[in-house]
């Protein structure tokens, strides 16, 4: 069998123009598919940045909340009520909101402010400069050093700014796992300072972060929170909810689907047609092989091998090209929100298999139908 496959391999790669066209088609399709889905994955990841960076196991929120950026403030009693639920190890408030800061240069810059529980500082970021306790210093803020950091005019410890006529001072520089989606810098401070400096409604708690005693308590906590008229989601559920919002309640999901389908169709058209031409050109030769004594299933193996080899090589090239483009884009544009996930790769792989399957099906049909007698008839 290996000998037959070697013949198939040589027939394929030695026809360099056809092989190049086949590879180009599949590589292009894979590139587009992975690129589109990676962009979407990157956007979704960034949309959940606060959830990922804060890292709480459970989040309590108003039932109308759809994304972490659009919180609906809750009254203080909810925090007390949640703390009293059996199975809650602890529950702390989180402030999350937008604000405008006036920088040293006089320019205004939108920022995202996260106010951490004053007692525990639960959800604090990893500091690369300064001490976390400095957050309690007068007007203390910690700035996140991510792709948005330069928009704050690259502040250092001690850099001052204005936030709603209040003085703010950078006391630490932090690192987080994921940057936000909306291209604004992130500042951490205490909960009480956040609600003091930023105008807000009567209610001030954006989210209540809950640590259950153990995994079995999650259901009970959800039930008790629901009885209060609020909703408690695990970290994964909250991220899923955010994903669903962007996928199904904005145009993003449909656009992504359309682009992915188009990429698939383009890849299928180029590869399918080229492979069909390739098989057609070799059809008489396959007929001659049949006459000589090759069995039908051996010819099918040859076609399947050729289609699979092309598909897998194109897949590798496509993924490699996409990775290179994303790396280059991130190098030039730090805000570029693309992320290749295993799901993206698996989806593209599945689609490539479908392309290979359809292309080889067309080829196999032709090869099985060719009669050796046709070779004699010319």
């Amino acid at each position: 069998m290996r000998g037959i496959l070697k013949i198939a391999y040589k027939l394929l790669v030695n026809d360099s123009s056809k092989f190049a066209a086949l590879l180009l088609g599949i590589t292009f399709a894979v590139f587009l598919m992975v690129q589109m889905t990676s962009l979407f994955a990157g956007i979704l990841n960034r949309a959940s940045a606060t959830v990922i960076n804060v890292g709480a196991d459970m989040w309590v929120m108003d039932p109308a909340v759809q994304t972490v950026a659009n919180s609906i403030p809750m009254p203080d009693y909810v925090l007390d009520a949640v703390r009293s639920v059996r199975g809650v190890r602890y529950a702390v408030p989180l402030y999350s909101g937008g604000a405008l800061v006036r920088l040293h240069s006089g320019a205004y810059q939108a920022v995202n402010v996260l106010g951490l529980d004053d007692t525990s500082l639960f959800g604090r970021p990893k500091l690369i400069e300064g001490q976390i306790s400095d957050i309690f210093a007068e007007n203390g803020f910690i700035v996140v050093k991510d792709s948005e950091y330069p928009k704050m005019e690259n502040p250092k410890r001690g850099t001052e700014f204005e936030l709603n006529d209040n003085r703010g001072v950078i006391v630490g520089i932090a690192q987080v796992a994921t940057s936000g989606l909306f291209g604004v810098p992130t500042l951490y401070t205490t909960f009480n300072r956040a609600i003091q400096y930023i105008p807000s409604s009567r209610f001030t708690i954006s989210y209540i972060l809950v640590e259950p005693k153990n995994i079995n308590d999650v259901a009970r906590i959800k039930q008790n929170v629901a009885a209060l008229g609020y909703v408690a989601l695990t970290k994964e559920e909250f991220m899923k909810q955010i994903t669903n919002f962007y996928m199904f309640k904005t145009g993003l999901g449909v656009n992504l689907l359309l682009m992915t389908v188009m990429s698939f169709v383009v890849g299928l058209s180029i590869s399918g047609q080229t492979f069909y031409t390739f098989v057609l050109e070799n059809l008489e030769k396959f007929g001659a092989l049949k006459a000589i004594g090759a069995k039908s299933h051996e010819l099918v193996y040859m076609i399947l091998f050729q289609a699979s080899f092309t598909a897998l090589t194109g897949y590798g090239l496509g993924v490699g090209l996409c990775s290179a483009v994303i790396a280059l884009a991130k190098f030039r544009l730090p805000d570029y929100a693309a992320m290749i996930t295993f799901t993206n790769l698996a989806l593209a792989f599945f689609m490539v298999l479908v392309i290979a399957g359809i292309s080889s099906y067309i080829g196999v049909r032709k090869v099985l139908r060719i009669e050796p007698f046709d070779i004699f008839r010319g």
Partner: protein, 235 residues
């Protein structure tokens, strides 16, 4: 008396049914022997290519039998028949049907590779046959770089590389000029034909008739006459 290589009995092949039925081969019975070069000749449409396909196991007859060394080949299941062709019958096609993307020696090695022989051993064996047909020096060129006569010799090497008992040649001189055609047939007669091999050739090229031991003449699907060593008898 030489042993019988091929024996056909009341061989019939028709296409279509009812009033549309057309006979391509009708009641053809003959024997071919080891050590002979048997020509099948006749005008276009006389059924000689169909007959060649029937006796080589690639077109199923509607009636009659084809026995090769006593084996009724059309009693064999499809895969067994393919295996039989691979081991016992060599083919030289009219247009050679060499793979342009393989080297000459790889083309010759194909039947051995189909027989699941090791790749390197198949190539080494194919090289010996290329030497027999005088093309060892061109072994690593693609067939498209060879002349028509050389391609024909490559096709012959491919047909005999697995030492078949029966060699089937379809219009072997159709793509060649007169001298090259004669040289090829002369080569086949001297180097390929032996007491353990029967060569059946379909041709309408009268210039090469001198190499035939017997000539089977077809007309309208029927066997009209068999000429042998200058003699002939009507069927």
């Amino acid at each position: 008396m030489p042993a019988t290589a091929i024996k056909t009995t009341a061989l019939c092949k028709w296409f279509g049914d009812g009033e549309a039925r057309t006979y391509a081969v009708r009641e053809v019975a003959f024997e071919a022997y080891f050590g002979e070069m048997l020509y099948i000749v006749g005008p276009s449409g006389s059924g000689k290519t169909t007959l060649l396909s029937l006796i080589s196991g690639i077109l199923r007859p509607n009636q009659g039998k084809v026995e090769i060394e006593g084996v009724d080949i059309w009693d064999l299941p499809n895969d067994a028949l393919a295996e039989f062709r691979l081991k016992r019958i060599g083919f030289v096609f009219q247009d050679f049907h060499l793979f342009p993307r393989l080297t000459t020696v790889e083309n010759v090695a194909i039947p051995l590779i189909l027989r699941k022989c090791n790749w390197d051993e198949s190539i080494a064996e194919a090289m010996k046959y290329l030497e027999i047909v005088g093309l060892k020096e061109r072994a690593h060129l693609p067939p498209v770089k060879l002349s028509g006569g050389e391609q024909q010799r490559v096709a012959i090497a491919r047909a005999i590389v697995s030492s078949p008992d029966i060699l089937i040649m379809d219009e072997p001189t159709a793509s060649l000029d007169g001298d090259t055609g004669k040289n090829i047939l002369s080569f086949v007669q001297k180097n390929i034909l032996n007491d353990k091999r029967c060569i059946v050739i379909v041709t309408h090229d009268a210039r090469i008739s001198e190499f035939a031991n017997r000539i089977l003449r077809m007309e309208d699907g029927k066997l009209k006459r068999i000429d042998s060593n200058g003699d002939s008898h009507e069927k």
